[in-house]
Amino acid sequence: MKKNPPRWASKLLEWWGDPETAEEVQGDLLELYAYWAETVGEREARWRYGLSVLKLMRPLAKWKETESSTPFFLRPDMIRNYLKIAWRNLVLHKAFTFINIIGLAVGMATCLLIVLFVTHELSYDRYHAKSDRTYRMTIYGQIGGKEIKAAQVSVPAGPTLAHDYAGVEMLTRLTPDGTFIVKQGPNSFKEERVVFADSNFFEVFSIPLLKGNRKTALLEPNTIVLTETVARKYFGEQDPIGQSLKLGNRGVFRVTGVCQDVPANTHFHYDMFGSLRSIQLRDTWLSSGILTYIVLQPGYSIHQLEVKMPEMIKKYVGPEVQQLLGMSLSDFNQKGNRFEFRFQPITDIHLHSDYEGEIEANSDIKYIYIFSLIAVFILLVACINFMNLATAGSAGRAKEVGIRKVLGSLQKQLIGQFLSESVLVTMLSLIGALLLVWAALPVFNQLTGKEFGLSEITGGWMLPGILLTSLLIGLLAGSYPAFFLSAFKPVSVLKGSIRAGFKSGWLRNLLVTIQFAVSIGMIIGTMVVYQQLQFIQNKKVGFEKDQVLILHDTYTLGKQINAFKTELKKLTPVLNVTLAGYLPAGATNNGTDGFQPDNGDPQATVYREKSYYIDEDYLPTMGIKLAQGRNFSKAFLSDSVGILVNEAAVKRFGWKKPIGQQLWRIGNGNPDSHRKFTVVGVVKDFHFESMHQHIAPLVMFYGSDNFQMALRIRTENLPELLKMVEQRWKAQTDNPFAYSFLNDRFNKMYRSEQVVSQLFGIFAGLTVIISCLGLFGLAMFTAQQRTKEIGVRKVLGASVASVVALLSKDFLKLVLVAILIATPIAWYAMNRWLQDFAYKIDLAWWVFALAGLLAVLIALLTVSFQSIKTALVNPVKSLRSE
């Protein structure tokens, strides 16, 4: 028969039992085990043995504890006691607790929102299964001294790369083709998010197909895959597979698949994916491009492809350069020109890429840095409040600490107590912060254009992360008071020889200074951003942006467009009408062409400049002024080879007398497109791109682009006019009627700056509020501390004003120091920010002065509320206290 008790239990007893009685207990149990095994069976015996051992383990076996020993400082009993005392203390000092909790809660809430935003921005395109191996091919070029960075590369570049060189596992291309009026039965909608993609699109990008075959859905021409939402929009609950849609002038498409909606954190958000075979592509290297993505084979580095690029360019691009420009590639390069293919990881696109031909306006890593910094600042300011109030409050707690120590508390236990107090406050603040986030989420979403829900906060690692961070904040913020207070010597504290709370003055002063430096910096930032925004929106742009109505998608009118235009012109409130596919703000066609001044030298420098196609009504409608020469006119037949240029172009080409100068357009390789044009007029510079760029040279051809129509109007009764225009539109076509105003479109261009300005304002406000809360608490405290002193002073004849001054001047000194620190830093930072604008304000000294003054005023207001209250107290009362 087995006579051995369970080994684990014996070991436990050895380790955890009381050493003093270990021997007899082990012996007794061993003997009992044998007895049990005989009387009640081995099973039961093992059970009883184990149970006895567990009961005898020290933390549960109480018998060895005597009254005089000190309990372990993390015992459950002690922790319960810490929390109870902490709670009583918090309730006792309601005002401070309130200030602490509100300050921290606001700080944490802001921080949480920013973390949400930043993690979302950083998550872009990381969900694709092969995101670490997927790259986008780009063009880097230098032509005529101008740098070109294009997101779209030559149509044959991708396939050639995959065919000629090893290492490319997959290649997919997509090309947006403008907006479409999509018809399905009687319904028609305007769709802006349409793209044509290679058949392996859904294998490169991890967007799951809900219906249809991932591999074959986009193989045939005129097939299309819809997102879930769009499929429902057109077909409701019907099965969309096999149904057909008419896409504008691209004909009828058969639906072959339904995919999930493109996740928000993707650098494109298309709703419809047509097969690339449905459209014609121009198979040349030096003309408009296509978005090309490659997936590297595992184990290959992108560098191995990059070094092959010069060779590929020489082989394929060389001949085209020769044909188009009449010079060899090496001559082309010799003139300082460049043409290179580069690669960027897709995970970099959203934050690091601002190329020509991006699918969507990308964000900027700069803002991620700025917001992260703000989050850290706000949290810092809130934590500083907490520390300051705790150390300031130490005067009141010094006696408590002294008594506790006399009664036998160890430093460790006191630290435990102070830390549990601060952790309790942080946890309460966390609850407040979560409530605040919940309340602020809709506004925040609207501001940032994101769609965060509560699930983002509670889901995944966020909640444990938040809890852990809060705990850490509590421990960190509580650590200074905890170590500082618990180190008091009971004798000196109880004798009253330590005036605790004033000793730590320098640290508190430092912290207040930091708080105010941050606040002042944020105030300056807000003012500068706001000023710059005002400057942009009110700057003369060179065209009249008010009272211009834009009608969208007028190309759907087809041949009737001219009749429609004439009809609109007859309306009295309409002063002028132009076909305006090219517009200086909002949706517009974009064109660039290569130009060579005609000065007899076939090897003359090639320039790549922006180009517009306009009709003779464009300049008057838009209110663009002529500097020299004349506008296009129907009266001159030769105007078909005439061009208008802007002043920047005159400068670029170096013309003294621009009128009559001639310019070759390089074209796209078609013999027709290589033509010579004569300058008939020069327009004054106008901002046809955002203020981030200097006004670039612009060449305007005589023609028209029916993409949109612009109406110069003068009316008080806009709804009436819109109704009239809509009636006439409806008479022509059943396509949806859509319009916008030029000034709205112009303002939208600076949306990201507006958002930044608003967020900056909000954050600055919050920082100031939190800082003031802290200052208020401190002032309250000093006032309490000096009650007696003030009483004595008043008895001796001090005036209220002098007492207020006495109490306020210490704080004002700190704010002044903060101004000195914040000004140069803010000046540097805002200067950097302004560098992004070609047209910017000068940083005026008064901005800094105003911010400083504001800070002083706010601080004074906060402090004086307390000071005056204290100064007004009857000295009899204050001297009688205690």
């Binding site: 009685t21 021997e23 082990q26 012996g27 009992l32 009883r48 149970l51 018998w63």
Partner: protein, 112 residues
């Protein structure tokens, strides 16, 4: 000093030690209580009670000489001290006084 209170289980353990005389140690006490009272007693409970009684001064203990059984571990033998005997007597006296004070008819009703 306040008279130490003797709990019911403490009383049983103290009595058992007295009954066992020279041979009272953890195992025998546990077994004795089990057999006499017929209730399952945990060793840990007995052990804790013994410790407490010793702390109160009702028991004294001595380690035995080494033995070959139980892995060579020694036993701790308990004896009742004078204070322990006094406490037991006191409890007994109180009980007897109470029994004596019981009215005869009640005694009859209880089957005595």
């Amino acid at each position: 000093m306040k008279r130490a209170f003797l709990g019911e289980f403490e009383e049983v353990v103290l009595l058992t030690v007295a009954v066992l005389d020279e041979s009272a140690y953890g195992v025998t006490i546990t077994q004795e209580i089990e057999q006499k009272t017929g209730r399952a007693v945990g060793f840990s409970t007995v052990h804790t009670t013994l410790q407490r009684l010793e702390e109160k001064g009702y028991l004294s203990s001595k380690m035995s000489g080494a033995t070959a059984e139980r892995g060579g571990r020694r036993k701790r033998f308990f004896t009742v001290t004078t204070a322990g005997r006094k406490a037991l007597m006191e409890v007994k006296n109180i009980r007897e006084q109470l029994w004596d004070a019981l009215p005869p008819q009640t005694l009859q009703l209880m089957g005595g």
